[in-house]
Each structure stands twice: as C-alpha cells, then as structure tokens.
C-alpha cells in the first residue's frame, strides 16, 4: 500500500546542473516559464502523498452528511419531512447539495482531484516499475558487513565454485540473480510493487466502471397486484431513474405478470420467505416463461434483473350507486406502516362515477388480522391475513385528480378536506361481505383483498466490471501486503563466503535471511571438494 513512500518520482522540473533559465530583460523569467513553473509546482503538490492523504480524509468527511441527513435517492419523503421540521435550515442545506451528497459537485470535485492525483502518481510509477522489472538487480555494495543482515560462511570451495553453488541455490529460491565482478546480487519480491500498482489501477478501473453504470443504467419500480402485470417502459413505472445516455427505446422488451404471491412465517411470526410466481416474455409476442422470484433471488434475464422488493395488501371494494349501478373489483394498494403486523394505510379514489356525480374516496386502514381494542378501534395482531378487516372513512366531493397537480396515490389531500372540497359522509369497520350505506343511498362493500408485490427492474451494464475491478483490487492488496521485497548480496573471500541482506519497506524479517543463509550453507557443505568427501 505504500504507493508513494519513495522519493518524489516526478522530478521533471529539477533543472540540470549548470542549466540557466531564460530570463527577461528585467531579470524576471518570462511569463510562460513562470506559468509552467507554477503549474509544475501545483502538479507536484497535487501528486504528493500528504496531499493525497488530505484528499482521502476530505472524502471521508464529505461522506458523513450523506449518512446523517436524509438523502433524496434513498427517501424523498424523509427529505420532505426534514423540510417541514426545519423550514429555515433545510433550504440552505439543500442549496449546498446536502440532501444528495453523493451527487453533489463538491463531492465529485474531491474524488476527481484524488483520481487526478492518483493518475499523476501511477503513470510514472508504473513506467518505473516496468523498467526495474527488465533491469538486473543492483550491483553488490562494497562492504556487505554494513547491511542490516550479515553472515559469513566458511567453505573450502574456490571463489567461483562457491558462487556457482550459491547462485544455483538462490535461483531455486526464485531470486533474480546478477553475477558480476566476482560477486552476486540477488533480488526477490518485485511482486510487491506489482500488487501495489494493480490495486491502484483496479481502483481507477472501478471508478470508470461506476461512471459507465451511471450513464447507461436504469431502474424502475412498480406495485403489481396478483393477476396484473407490467412491461418494461418508463411510462409504466411508478418511479424510475435512468442514466442520461439511455432513452426509452433502449429498454429491453420484457413483460411480466404476477400470478401469485406468497408470504410464509415462522411460528414466532418471523418472516420466512416472500415469493412471487411470475410469467414473463422477453419480446413482444414472445413465448411465456415461468419463474419464481423472492427476497435474495431475483430473476436475471439478458442483463436485466427483476426484484421483489416489497409487498402489501390491496383491499377490494364494490360500490352500488343509488341508481343501482354496480361497480365491482375496485382496489388500491395500501402501504404497510408496520411490517410486523402489516397494518396498512391507503386510499381508494373513485373520480369517475358518471356524469354529474360527485367523486368518492375511501380512506382507511387494512388489518390482516383484526383485533378490537375497544370503542370500535381496530388494530392488527398478525401479519398473516387470518381475520381481515378494514376501518374506512368515506368522502365525497372532488379528490382533485383532474386539478393537474401531482398527487400522492396513497393519501388524500388533507387541504381539500379542510377547504370543504371533500366532505366526510360516513365511516365504518367492515369485515368481508359487510357494507357501509351512505346517506345518499350509495353502498360500499368490502369484498376481500389481493396481495400486491413491489417489483423493481434494474439494468446496470457495468456491474460485472465493477466486481472484477474490486476483486483485482483485493488481489493487488493481498499481494502487496504479503510479499516482502528483499535483496541478498554475496562476495567470496579467503575460504569464506560473505552474505549481506536487506528488506525494503517495513521491518526486516530475519527469518527469511536465515533461511537463505542456511540453504546456501547446506549447499556449500554438500558440494564440498570430492577429495574431502572421500575421507
């Protein structure tokens, strides 16, 4: 990891000895030279290790508000709530981009500076490493006894023979060996720097992959009731987000129908599994295929993924108007407000009941297993639909769907109730089959419920590249942390072989040096002159 531990590798602006800078008549260097010098100074500052460290800390610090303040991409409603709670502060924070930190220009500025700094450091370092991979190990220093590790082996072999034996031994131990001027230099562990560079290059590759995913990726979410379906187009999603370089025509032609949804629970009501049986086709008029998706098991089709991200109940109502008109199978998804009991809230808006007729809205809660808390107040005690009920309040008037202002489909506009545009005309707790009769003769019957699933369709063309980059980072990291770079030098003396060693980066490991010395010592003994061995 010590990418920049060495001396400055960007010595481009160090003037050659004796070289003079061109000067203007006033004695000051010309503007162009000064600009170049200042630019080089900045470049050197940007690519220095302390600057990179400061940028790393800045990046960490900049991420903090992203976890402490509500973020738009995670929860629009949490941000809206924050605006309501802090009307003075919120707009200021918003202008600073603090509700979408990871897309804020200043966040991008930090990591772009960091990556410019990284590139500025990586390029010369990589070139230098390639050179040193090709070059021979450095020549042995004159006094081996000054090295951190030092040993002397006595031998009866001649100088050249002793070096032959040692060279063979070092090569077997996978050292790169240079034999010159009656001495040996050997080097091992260049892989440490290779791993280091792989880690940082993979980091760059990951950033590029992430950018590609942001530009060409998309995802859309939709609530689908059992028996209904959707096709992959932006118009059909409740919410979607797409990269700037993707348009509707690029979406893969996938259509999905939710046939059946099941939720299973443990005896202690811990959710055990949620699954949806789906039918899908990959192309318009393509053959139908079956699949079951669930939590932790999405459907993967041609690079798009379909997830089951949530679930809930949609109560079904039928409405009989005073003139005898019967409207059946009216339902709307109610959102669970408590995942342990699946108590759910929602509203069924009926804007189109015929000419001249007031609109109707059925607001309320759905209780999968209702329990009476006394006083007509219901609550849910079980997430499974064992004894379902609804508690509803009915309004007539104008729900405002035609006003042109976007509406939340799960709630009624409270201001409309306050202004009298919606008038409360009745309330009741209903079990399946029970009806509420309104004063004007309209009757509303709770007939049952369907389950719905929240489905999300995603495509990220670069996520495999991100994974590969991440694994390459890990491989580089392990290599650079585990491999030690070391050098061993040998020079024969009079009936003696002198050995010196040094390790680069971190603590010198004595064990490895001892292993080398022992190995050479054993080899020398084995290769002793034949006449001695005979005796």
């Amino acid at each position: 990891m010590s990418l920049r531990s060495d001396a400055p590798h960007l010595a481009i602006d160090a003037p050659e000895a004796g070289q003079t800078r061109p000067t203007s008549p006033t004695g000051r260097p010309p503007v162009r030279a000064r600009v170049v010098r200042v630019a080089r100074g900045w470049w050197r500052w940007l690519t220095s290790m302390p600057t990179a460290l400061m940028l790393l800390f800045l990046l960490a610090l900049a991420a903090v508000p992203g976890s402490l303040l509500p973020q738009r991409p995670l929860s629009q409603s949490a941000v809206a709530q924050y605006f309501a709670d802090n009307p003075q502060l919120a707009p200021i924070l918003d202008r600073l981009g603090l509700f979408d930190v990871f897309a804020a220009p200043w966040f991008a500025a930090i990591y772009l500076l960091l990556f410019v700094s990284l590139i500025g450091c990586l390029v010369p370092r990589t070139l230098g490493h390639i050179r040193s991979l090709r070059a021979a190990p450095p020549r042995a220093p004159s006094r081996l006894s000054r090295l951190p590790r030092h040993a002397e082996l006595s031998t009866d072999l001649g100088a050249e023979e002793a070096l032959d034996v040692a060279e063979e031994e070092l090569r077997v131990a996978r050292y790169r060996v240079l034999r010159k001027d009656g001495a040996i230099s050997a080097e091992k562990g260049l892989l440490k720097e290779t791993g280091n560079l792989v880690f940082h290059l993979a980091l760059l590759a990951m950033l590029i992959s992430l950018a590609v995913g942001k530009l060409w990726g998309y995802e859309g979410s939709v609530l689908v009731q059992e028996g209904q379906g959707f096709c992959n187009s932006f118009q059909q999603y409740d919410t979607y987000s797409a990269g700037p370089l993707i348009d509707g025509a690029d979406l893969s032609p996938l259509c999905v129908d939710l046939e059946d949804f099941q939720a299973r629970y443990e005896p202690d009501l811990t959710p055990a599994s949620f699954t949806g049986d789906i039918t899908y086709s990959r192309a318009l008029d393509g053959p139908d295929e079956q699949a079951t998706i669930g939590i932790n098991s999405p459907l993967r089709v041609d690079g798009t993924r379909l997830y089951l991200t949530g679930r809930g109940f949609a109560p079904i109502f039928s409405v009989r108007l005073p003139d005898g008109t019967e409207l059946t199978d009216l339902s709307a998804p109610f959102l669970p407000t408590d995942s342990t009991t699946m108590l759910s809230e929602g509203v069924l808006k009926l804007p189109d009941l015929g000419a001249g007729r007031d609109q109707l809205a059925v607001e309320g809660v759905f209780l999968p297993t209702a329990a009476d808390m006394g006083g007509g107040l219901l609550t849910s005690v079980d997430p499974r639909p064992l004894d379902p009920a609804v508690a509803i309040v009915v309004y007539t008037g104008s729900v405002g769907l035609d006003s042109g202002i976007p509406q939340n489909v799960f709630t009624l506009d409270q201001e409309r109730i306050g202004r009298g545009q919606l008038e409360r005309v009745g309330a009741a707790n209903l079990r399946p089959g029970e009806s509420l009769n309104l004063p004007d003769g309209t009757s509303i019957t709770f007939t049952g419920f369907k389950e719905f699933a929240a489905l999300q369709l995603s495509r990220d063309p670069s996520q495999l590249a991100v994974l590969i980059s991440a694994l390459a980072m890990l491989a580089g990291l392990l290599t650079t942390l585990l491999v030690r770079r070391r050098r061993v030098f040998l020079r024969p003396g009079d009936k003696v072989l002198e050995i010196g060693g040094l390790a680069q980066g971190g603590s010198a490991e004595p064990a490895e040096f001892e292993r080398v010395v022992t190995g050479i010592s054993t080899a020398l003994a084995a290769a002793g002159p034949p006449d001695r061995r005979d005796h």
Binding site: M1, S2, A63, S273, S458, L467
Partner: protein, 313 residues
C-alpha cells in the same frame, strides 16, 4: 424445555461466565502491572539492537501468566457461546446485534492472544484488552441482548455467512489494533518527554512494551484486518445486488463502511509516509476504530436503513 431452548439458556450462562473470566483476567493483568518493578525503566538493549524487557518480579510475572491463562479460558467459553447460539437457532450465530458484538469481541481477544504468541512482550497490554472487552460485553448483555431465534427472510442467504463473518473478523482485528495504537500514543509521548514525565500516565507508560513493538503490532493487525474488511465490503455488495436490487445504496451502514475503509487506507499510506508515520498514523488508526464503533452502535441503533437487523427494540 425444548433442546433449542436448553442450548440457548446454556449459551446465556456461558456468556456470563465469559464475562467473569475476563473480569478475573483483568484483575490479574492489573496485578501484573501494579507489582512490576516500579523503578524507572531500565531498558536493556541486546547486541542485535532488540530490546530486552524489564525484568518483572516473581509475583508480577506469575500474575501475568495466570491472567493469560484465564483469558484463554475466557476465549474458549466465548467461542462456545457463539457455537451454542448457532446450534440453538440452527443457523450462523451472526443474526443480530448481540451475536455480532459477541463475535467482534471474540475476534478482538483472539487477535490479542495471537499477538502475545508472536511477541510475548505484548502480554503487558493485556489489561487494556480485557478491561474494554469486559465492559463491552457487559454493555452488550445489558443493552443489545436478543433471544436466540430464526432469521428474518432477508438474512436467509449464504452471503450472511461470508459477509458478517468477515466483517466480524476485520472489526475484531481493528478493535485490538486501535487499542494497541492508543497505547503506542501513551508510550511514545512518555518517551518523547525523556521518560521523566510525572503522573499516572508515566507510571503506566514505562511498563508498556516499547513504542516500536506497539506500533508494529498495531500495523500487523491492520495489515490482516484491512484485506478481510475489504473482502467483507465486496461480499456485502454482491449480496446487496441480489437482495436489494443494487450493489451499493449509500445506506448509512454502507456510507460508514466506506468512511472506515478510507480511514484504514489512509492509515496504511500514512505509516509509510515521512512526516506521518508514528504518532499521526496511530491517531488515524484510533480514528478508524471510532468510525467502526460508531457504525456498529449509532447506525444500527439510531438511524434507520437497509441494515436495520439489530433485533433490539
């Protein structure tokens, strides 16, 4: 009582016994420090440049050995707690905050014992490992306790084993490393003051292993923990891709994991940079531990996000 309930209640008993063992070890380690020769440090240096530790008196040395033995016993009990929790619920015992905190302190103590095996001198920091671990486990038992039970649907994935195990191992290594770096800061300030500083700090400081030993031990643990933690984050991203529909969500837990990763990357860089190695790098390591603890406690207990599996109400 069913078998599962028996196992779970046995695990609870062993949890208490583990705390008891670590408490006794803490007392014995404290005795080792207290009865060590209280004269000014006489640091002896061997011919090869390595330091010979100050000789401890007979009682002190025996107290230290006893402390180490009890710590090892505690670690065995500690591991058994996790094993029984797993057997009781028929799953990996890493399904809630109680189990996660128990696993992290387990790895932290194991990391300490590993250091002592590698470098026996490091036994001298035992007090500063077993004391915070004991306090941490008492708090875990009081505030994070969760009944042994089945996993929620979202956690039923093979990635739970891969992701949470590696998070615990990385975190445990960072935990002990952060403590060692804290001790390094105490010791190196004492050294800088010429070994003559007054006060409680100095009375403890000169009985600590040398600054270099502490610095190297802290670094070794991060060198181990950082790749493990990196792998844990990658495994988490792979799991998130199949569970939540996106490999990275900037969920609060992910954001703080990102921050922690950057801080530890900065530590490894700083330790190899002139002007940063030594005290500045040690401060970064301590900051890393603060970030990890914040991520465990604040993010799970206070904020809400996708990682809300604490099992604590």
């Amino acid at each position: 009582m069913s078998d599962a309930a028996n196992l779970a209640s046995l695990a609870d008993t062993l949890f208490t016994l583990t705390i008891l063992a670590y408490s006794l070890a803490t007392i014995a380690f404290a005795a080792e420090l207290a009865f060590a020769s209280s004269s000014r440090p006489k640091v002896l240096v061997a011919t090869d440049g390595s330091e010979i530790p100050e000789a401890r008196t007979g009682f002190s040395a025996r107290a230290g050995q006893v402390a180490l033995g009890i710590t090892l016993l505690g670690l065995v009990l500690h591991g058994t707690v996790l094993l029984l929790r797993g057997l009781a619920a028929q799953r990996i015992p890493l399904g809630n905050m109680f189990e996660l905190a128990t696993a992290v302190t387990f790895v932290g103590v194991a990391g300490f014992l590993y250091l002592v095996i590698r470098t026996p001198r490091l036994r001298g920091i035992g007090l500063f490992v077993t004391l915070p671990v004991t306090v941490g486990m008492v708090l875990t038992g009081l505030f994070l306790y969760a009944e042994s039970g089945p996993l929620v649907a979202a956690l039923r994935s093979g990635w739970l084993l891969v992701h949470v195990t590696t998070v615990s191992i990385g975190f445990g290594a960072f935990l002990t490393s952060g403590i060692v770096s804290g001790l390094f800061l105490v010791r190196s300030r004492f050294d800088e003051a010429g070994g003559s500083a007054a006060g409680v700090n100095s009375r403890v400081a000169h009985r600590l292993p040398s600054a270099e030993t502490l610095d190297r031990a802290a670094h070794r643990l991060v060198v181990f923990g950082f790749p493990v933690f990196t792998f844990a984050v990658i495994a988490g991203a792979v799991w998130a891709e199949s569970a939540w529909g996106r490999f990275w969500n900037w969920d609060p837990k992910e954001t703080w994991a990102f921050i922690a990763w950057i801080v530890y990357a900065a530590y490894l860089h700083a330790r190899a940079t002139a002007g940063w190695k030594g005290r500045a790098a040690a401060w970064i390591n301590v900051a890393g531990l603060v970030v990890m603890l914040f991520n465990l406690l604040y993010v799970n207990l206070v904020s809400t996000g996708l990682h809300s599996y604490a099992g604590v109400n």
